[in-house]
């Protein structure tokens, strides 16, 4: 049953690769401004779900609506509302930070003046203003991930999908990323963040959704409960 207030509406969603089911009949809704922690072991289907939500992959059966637009028929409109950060930076190594953002800004149809303004602002927010004209290939993993967040936020999407964003980062880089993501840049934005590192789920995540073998085994507000406790009971 669809929720009229939902920004993301997923109904009976299944995905199979070569006959092998990865996601089995998922149903859930996400309201504007919600921060959902998507938990599950490796291979539980978290990345597949985020690829489906971002329009990078097509469902085998079921429906996905984002902001009222249905996929895959209206995928173009959905893609304009979504920003995706993965463990890969999705950046061009032989372009500078500014050139990367400028390129993606053009693809999202942002006019030159507005693009320049947003790029300058985002580079400052992610702490890369001084490295704006350095090639991405000279960046550390943490810097690439921060620039990746700027790339995903450039078109001011309604929904930010984070797929294991902490993968391969050291403690200092993780804290810096948290600071950017949850304290300033994306406050108030709808966020779905997948992780298998329970200790990395920010306190601001108001809801947990646990995937196990392609099914949702827990979907509720986190309240004051401990993530490890939720995960253990949902995976049992």
């Amino acid at each position: 049953m669809s929720d009229e207030r939902a920004l993301i509406d997923v109904e009976n969603l299944s995905k199979a690769y070569g006959g092998m089911p990865v996601l089995r009949g998922l149903n859930f809704h996400v309201r504007p401004g919600e921060f959902v922690a998507l938990l599950g072991a490796n291979g539980s289907g978290k990345s597949t779900l985020l690829r489906l939500l971002s329009g990078l992959s097509k469902p085998t059966t079921g429906a996905i609506r984002v902001g009222g637009w249905e996929m895959p028929g209206e995928a173009m409109a959905v893609r304009a509302q979504i920003g995706l950060v993965t463990h890969q930076p999705l950046l061009y190594q032989n372009l500078t930070a500014r050139e990367n953002l400028d390129f993606f800004g053009k693809l999202y149809g942002i006019g030159r003046e507005e693009r320049d303004r947003r790029i300058t602002d985002l580079l400052r927010k992610v702490g890369l203003r001084k490295r704006a004209d350095s090639l991405v290939r000279t960046f550390s993993r943490g810097m690439k991930q921060r620039l990746s967040i700027a790339r995903a936020s450039l078109h001011q999407p309604d929904v930010l999908l984070l797929d294991e964003p902490y993968s391969g980062l050291d403690q200092a880089a993780i804290e810096r990323l948290d600071e950017i993501l949850f304290a300033g840049l994306d406050a108030g934005r709808t966020i779905i963040m997948s992780t298998h590192q329970l200790e990395r789920v920010p306190r601001s995540a108001g809801r947990a959704l646990v995937l196990s073998r392609g099914r949702i085994t827990f979907d509720d507000a986190t309240g004051s409960r401990d993530m490890s406790e939720i995960y253990r009971s949902a995976s049992a």
């Binding site: 173009m76 999705l90 372009l95």
Partner: protein
Amino acid sequence: MKTPFINSVAAIIGKDLRAEMRARELVSVMALFALLSILVFSFALELDREAREEAVSGVLWVTLIFASLLGFNRSMAQERDQGNLDALLLAPISRAAIFVGKLLGNFIFTLIVALAILPLMTALYGLALLDGWIIVTTTLGIFGFATIGTLLATMTVQTQAREALLPIAMLPIALPFLLTAVRATKGVLSGAPAAEWQGPLGMLAAITVIYLVLCLLLYEYVLEE
């Protein structure tokens, strides 16, 4: 909501040119291969001037085809390596714009190599390869080859054996380009009447248009999982 086609294409070409000007990973490798190839053929055919004149159009096209294969593979690998293809697919642009952008980038890089080796071949083989019609034939043939190469490189780059798979997949499909391009080039070089080589040239143009339309239609499916 959707970024205009022409703006998306221009952005992709601009990005490819800028990245190449900085890294010089594509054109330099293609040009080096082309240089070695024409030198090897030049030495191999040195003793027989007649055979050299007969073979020069074949040498030109075999060199360009293998050089372009190196370039197409590398160009798509750049999109695949850091997951950049996903970033392109996430943008509100049509799949056709991605295809045309990548195609024109590949075409420009291969054309630069061709325009560099034509004077060199003229000097080495003693034939007038800097002829207007040779340049037209070369440009058209390279465009057709880049069309099919861009489509197939997008497919093969998603496999582990991409370096080996692209030539295997591409050479049989590109055979019509090769045959008509060699015939047209040979006709122009031999000084034959225009009526003799305009037929193959027209056929080359027709094959290019057919392949371009087919590739535009198929590209969306190639990008799907």
